[in-house]
Symmetry: C2
Subunit: 175 residues, 2 copies
């Protein structure tokens, strides 16, 4: 049996016990989170959130990409969230490679001359990366200035969230 089939079997049990049929579409806590996709971070558990509480946006690195901005705009303007949290974490895979090396390896294995993505958003300084993501949200013209935007580093060895002061992000992230 595949892992996907295993997950479907687990879903049958979940659905049997399900008692959340009346949750409204807008998140109850008016909260949206941008976090890394890392398997060691279960966002809802780590922040004490229940199903229905928050929008959860995740990608490799917990990067405020154009796509994450798209999601945050929809989250706030259509579904009323008022606070944003950005979560990166220790021991992140994005600290372990250079985007150009990965692109070169992938290009060597395919006929495609140039394919997306343009950048893998690898980075070398975790705190600095969090500060840059905060700034990307705060500087976006379609994100109102009164939205709270705070950034954290999740420690995969302790489960703790440690806040990164917004400060001033320097330069651009490494590719």
């Amino acid at each position: 049996m595949s892992i996907t089939d295993d997950a479907l079997k687990a879903n049958e049990s979940y659905a049997r016990e399900f008692a959340l049929e009346h949750l409204p579409m807008p998140p109850a806590r008016k909260l949206a989170i941008v976090a890394c996709m890392d398997a060691r971070l279960t966002v809802e558990q780590a922040l004490g959130l229940k199903t229905g509480d928050a929008h959860i946006i995740r990608n490799a690195g917990g990067i405020v990409t154009e796509d994450a901005i798209r999601s945050l705009i929809i989250s706030h303007h259509l579904l009323g969230t008022q606070e944003f949290i950005i979560i990166n974490h220790t021991d992140c895979g994005m600290l372990t490679f250079k985007g150009e090396d990965l692109a070169a390896k992938l290009e060597a294995g395919t006929d495609a001359a140039a394919v997306t993505p343009q950048s893998f958003h690898a980075f070398s300084n975790l705190e600095e990366n969090v500060r840059q993501q905060i700034q990307r949200v705060k500087s976006h013209p379609w994100i109102p200035a009164n939205i709270s935007v705070r950034g954290f580093i999740y420690d995969v060895k302790t489960g703790e969230l440690n806040e990164v002061p917004a400060g001033k992000a320097r330069g651009k992230s490494a590719k």
Copy 2:
């Protein structure tokens, strides 16, 4: 106290009980999931996944954007995942608006002439949307053909996942 501060307080309790300090970086189940950010879907619970099991990628709609492809490439090529699951859901906010209307509203409220995102990826047909996302993954030159890619619709009223046969996606998604 803000919702963010509430979440930090909950994290203190989580960290006190934390006993997962030895999880490795690669997901234990070699699984990556692309799902909608919707608050009513707690991906790990609905699929019976534990912390450490799977990469979780989420955005508005559960769309295989360039950014989701970036994350899937990193997930597979650097961290060894072998099965991908795509999850959209009933009563999705992305079925309730037109991208051009939202863009017009946002543009009217700002000085910025043209800002990202280019498209909000709203859609009008849920099953068709899932099929398109499967096809986007399967047709990408950097995603090997032997990766399992299956798509589902999560029912927010019952907690059930219902598979969408891959079939042939028609046309493009509405903006």
